[in-house]
Symmetry: C2
Subunit: 208 residues, 2 copies
DNA sequence: CCTACCGATCGGTAGG
DNA sequence: CCTACCGATCGGTAGG
């Protein structure tokens, strides 16, 4: 049997991780101190180094475990075997539901991953690429035209813009919630992409 | 006549501001040092304090002057007196053109404004609100239905997600440029919003 | 698992 | 008496 690690080790580690995600999201990685984190966790600063080698490893664990969660959601929707439109709508809804409960993790992912060393940043970004690829495939199933025009990845990034930007403006105490935005985003995106695919190469509107 | 400030003062100040925008965007506000900034500008560190009271004032000037620029663009498009669809398309195109040349400023705006003191952050955020309001009005002119359903600000934020998220994935050396994305975004958004406005309150797709 | 510390580097300013 | 500007170092605090 495994010796050493106390049964509470993983629980304590997870508690530190959640607290760190809140702190880093709120103050930024470099502006948040290990002393603050220790105080927020109710432990001494040296004890943090019992659970994590250094500050950067906490950052990596936040981003990496969050990407694993998003990949799980992608796989879970895949298993449902839905029709293209419903499959896409389910992806958007599940992501918005996840976002509602992972605002801190997502903000850390977006704004602090660049502070990781190259190999750790690359591991996170590889998982991000797999999520983008899954959405791009789901979009192509709805509208194969975007693939022909090599717009599958760009339109997938446009979709991520629509849903990920919510972190900058959706307030928990506002009239609209994350779940409310899912059908709005799905309607705009699916109708918009279908129109895009049936447009010729010329720009639709001459801006100037 | 004005005494004091040398004619080169404003030029030197602008040069520092541009260099700081690049440095803060690249390394993050708290991870970038005044010593690095001085080196990048080819001046001594104390000289920076001749142009700016402190590090935070540099950050404020980057964000505030950039918001002034965006408000100028909004006003310039307004003056053209275009029809609703063309007016909206022009706003998107002008913003993407500006983004292409202001990537650093925009990244600083998004990720570092939260480090400003409350009153300075509020001044920047007020200008951001004015830009959002202008886009929301332009959208309502195209499709008044979104106003009736109180979705004008949310759909404006969805649009900003589409265009602002480009900073996380569009590469200067990639096959697609900022200008290429403008008609794609315009087509998806206008067709999507028109479809949304003609949809009833029920969700369009039952996700699960 | 705490108190007590370190090497280094931070933002900002002294004298000249 | 102003501005522009340097080498050296300040008090405090970061991660460890």
């Amino acid at each position: 049997m495994a010796r050493g690690k106390a049964p509470t080790f993983e629980l304590q580690r997870a508690a530190i991780l959640a607290e760190a995600a809140h702190l880093f999201a709120d103050k930024g990685f470099h502006n948040a101190s290990m002393a603050e984190l220790a105080q927020a966790c109710g432990v001494s600063k040296p004890l943090l180094y019992h659970y994590y080698r250094d500050k950067e490893q906490i950052l990596f664990d936040i981003a990496d475990s969050y990407m694993d969660r998003l990949l799980e959601i992608v796989a879970g929707v895949e298993e449902e075997g839905l029709e293209p439109d419903a499959h896409f709508a389910a992806l958007v809804m599940r992501f918005m539901e996840e976002y509602e409960h992972a605002q801190s993790q997502h903000m850390v992912l977006v704004q602090d991953v660049k502070f990781l060393k190259q190999d750790e940043a690359a591991r996170v970004r590889d998982k991000q690429r797999r999520v983008v690829a899954a959405f791009a495939e789901a979009i192509v199933r709805v509208e194969p035209g975007v693939k022909r025009r090599k717009l599958d990845k760009p339109v997938a990034m446009i979709l991520f813009g629509m849903i990920n930007w919510t972190f900058t403006w959706l307030r928990a105490d506002g009239p609209l919630g994350f779940r409310d935005m899912a059908p709005v985003v799905t309607t705009i995106f699916l109708n918009g992409v279908k129109a895009l695919a049936h447009t010729n190469e010329k720009k639709t509107v001459a801006a100037h």
